[in-house]
Homo-oligomer: 195 residues x 2
C-alpha cells in the first residue's frame, strides 16, 4: 500500500503539474511551494532565499567549492540549515498520505516501504517550449536555462544524498511526460497508487 | 501511435517475461531468442557465441582492451560483425508491430517516433531470488552474477551507442518490476501502447 508519492523532475517537464493533478484526483495534499513557506516560517530565511537554495546547488567555481568546503569546518552553511529544516518537515508531513515535489524527498524517505518514488523528464524541445509558455522569455535561451537548472538540481541532490539524480534504478517509475502526455502520466500514477 | 516496444532490462528483473506477456496481450510478436537464432543463420556464428557476444562486452583487462583496440585497425571484430547483423535484422523486424528485448534496439530505432522505449529494473534482493529460481545456483553468488551481467550489458551498450545505459531520460518509461509487480508492469505497457 502506497502512502506518499515523491516526484523528482527535470526543469520544465511538468513534474509539478503532474504532482498537483495526481494529488487532486487522489484527494490528498501536494507539497511544493507550501514546503518553502513552512521552512521559511521555521528557520527565518526569506521565501525567495529558500526557493533559490532549497534544491539548487550554488553556481560554483573551483575556488567557490574550496571556500564552501573550508567553511564547513566552521559550522553549517545556510544551505545546510535549510536542508535540516526541510528534512524535518518532510518526515513530518509524510506521516499522512500526500504528494511531495522535489527537495530530495525520495532520499529522505528511502527506508520506508509505502513510498512511490517517481521521476518525470522530457526532451529538450518539449521542455523549452513549456518554460517559455510558463515563465516567459528571459535573457538566457531556454536550452541554457534548462541545462543550468538541471545541473544545479543534480549537484544539490548529489551533495546531500551522495546518489545520482535521474538514474532509472533510483525510482520506482520514471516517465517521459513529453512522449506520454501530462494527463496520461497522472492516470498512470493514480492507478499505481490505488493498487 | 506506437508500433514497437523496446525493452532494456537489468539482469533478473523480469524484463524478458514482461516483454513476452505484453506482446501476447497485444497479439504481436516478441523478439529475444528469436533474434539470436536469426543472426546465427545469417552470419554463421553458433547460437551460444551470439548469446555471449550479442549484448555483453567481453570481460576485459587493461591489456585485453588494448589488444581489442589494436585489432580494430585490422578490421572488424566478431562482435562488430554480430552488431551489424543484429542491427540490420532489428531495422527489418521493426517495420511491423512487435516487442524487442535488449540488443540496443532503443538506440537502433532512436530516430523513429512510433517507438516506446522501456527500461525494467528491480532491487538486488528481488533479482537475486529470481535468478536462483530461474537459473539455479551457480558457483558465483547471485549478487556477483547480477553485478557482472549488468556491468557487461552497460559496457556493451556504451561501446556501441556512446550513451549511458539505465539513465531515466533515455527511456520513455522506466519501471521497478520488484515494487510494481510483473503483472502490473504488463498492464501499464499494454495501456500505454494502446493509447
Amino acid at each position: 500500500m502506497n502512502k506518499v508519492i515523491t516526484i523528482s523532475r527535470q526543469f520544465g517537464s511538468g513534474g509539478r503539474t503532474i504532482g498537483k493533478l495526481t494529488a487532486e484526483k487522489l484527494g490528498i495534499p501536494c507539497y511544493d511551494n507550501e514546503l518553502i513557506e513552512e521552512v521559511a516560517k521555521s528557520c527565518g530565511f526569506a521565501k525567495e532565499y529558500i526557493e533559490a537554495h532549497g534544491e539548487y546547488a550554488d553556481h560554483r567555481t573551483w575556488l567557490g567549492r574550496a571556500i564552501k568546503s573550508a567553511n564547513r569546518f566552521e559550522g553549517m552553511s545556510n544551505q545546510d540549515k535549510i536542508w535540516i529544516e526541510q528534512r524535518k518537515l518532510i518526515l513530518k508531513i509524510a506521516e499522512s498520505p500526500c504528494v511531495i515535489v522535489g527537495r530530495c524527498a525520495d532520499y529522505i524517505l528511502r527506508e520506508r516501504e509505502d513510498i512511490l518514488k517517481v521521476f518525470i523528464h522530457a526532451d529538450d524541445k518539449f521542455r523549452a517550449e513549456r518554460i517559455v509558455n510558463l515563465y516567459g522569455e528571459k535573457p538566457d535561451k531556454p536550452e541554457k536555462r534548462l541545462k543550468d537548472k538541471d545541473r544545479r538540481r543534480a549537484a544539490y541532490y548529489k551533495d546531500y544524498t551522495e546518489t545520482e539524480w535521474g538514474v532509472a534504478s533510483n525510482y520506482h517509475l520514471a516517465l517521459d511526460s513529453g512522449k506520454l502526455g501530462i494527463e496520461n502520466c497522472v492516470e498512470i500514477l493514480v492507478n499505481i497508487y490505488n493498487k
